[in-house]
């Protein structure tokens, strides 16, 4: 396990997580959430949990991002209240 690589990816995970909450634009938040999942997938792979990494890549970064983008597609640009 390379500690430097670990630290870089962990930092990116935190940046993506905070960014996904902080960003006002819903589509941006959905994409940042996908990036967050992908970084977590890399972390699992580094730790040797390849099966979990595979699941995270397909479910977290793949399909759930599509679901969120599909849900954002059905919202309006500005809130009504």
């Amino acid at each position: 396990m390379v500690v430097e690589l670990d630290m870089v990816i962990l930092t990116l995970v935190m940046i993506c997580a905070v960014g996904a909450i902080w960003v006002k634009d819903l589509l941006g938040a959905a994409i940042l959430f996908g990036a967050y999942s992908f970084m977590l997938c890399l972390l699992w792979a580094i730790m040797g949990a390849v099966d979990v990494a595979f699941t995270e890549a397909s479910v977290g970064a793949g399909v759930s991002t599509v679901f969120m983008v599909a849900a954002v597609f059905r919202t309006s640009r500005r809130t009504k209240d």
Binding site: A53, F54, G62, V66
Partner: protein, 276 residues
Amino acid sequence: MKKLALILVLLCWGFLAFAAADFPRLGDPNSPASTHLSPYFIEKAYEDTATPNIVTAVLADYRSYDTMFETTVVFAAGVACFLLLRFYHFSEPPSHLYRHKPSGTVIQVPRGYRLKGEHTELEPIDRDWAPKDPIVEVASRILIPFIQIFALYVVVHGHHSPGGGFQGGVILGASLVLLAISRDLRTAQATLGESKNSILSALGVLIYVGVGAVTLALGSNFLDYAALAGLMGVDQVIARNLGILFVEVGVAVAVMATMFLIYRNVASAGALDEGL
């Protein structure tokens, strides 16, 4: 209210960080998991099930109750999406749009009017339509079969390599979603209709539970695949190996169908006519 939420989150984070200090270090040979559980699985998994990938053996054999209920949870999520979003609206949209295939011209037909007769050169398109993009369509058409073959490989090769029913099912579902995104929801609807989709999503769970019921009927414990040995004429180790394959196929079918069921309901806001 926002400040209160922030304080609560920070408090929870503090507790978590405090509790995490008690965790054994990653890969600590003296932690309870490394001294009691893992050695048993590492030593016995191949003897018991002839499955080189220990993760698959643990997931689908030693802990198959967990996986069964995980599949049920996925199925329940699909049913919840269906119940919350799906509605059958009979009010017509303000207008229908058709694309003239050879020329690319778009025709608008207002509400209350219909095109008469058969028009093979006209195809219905979405209201918030985008111009036809041959690059996306052709690239997806080439990609989708490869994605699906890879998904099948992931499902059946889960004994030997990372992967298994869940991952393979998600990739299969993603290939259907890609079809729906690159063309439109109507094309995907023609590939896998709603009733077939719903039946498949329940069938997957039924396959899993059915394997358990068969083992129960053969006088063994629920989901103890060794009982299948007599039925299939193989020894107990191979029976457990095949039992894992059966439930993995069940998981793959359930997850594939449920992923697409959720997608089509979310993307079209429950109307299943057009979306994304």
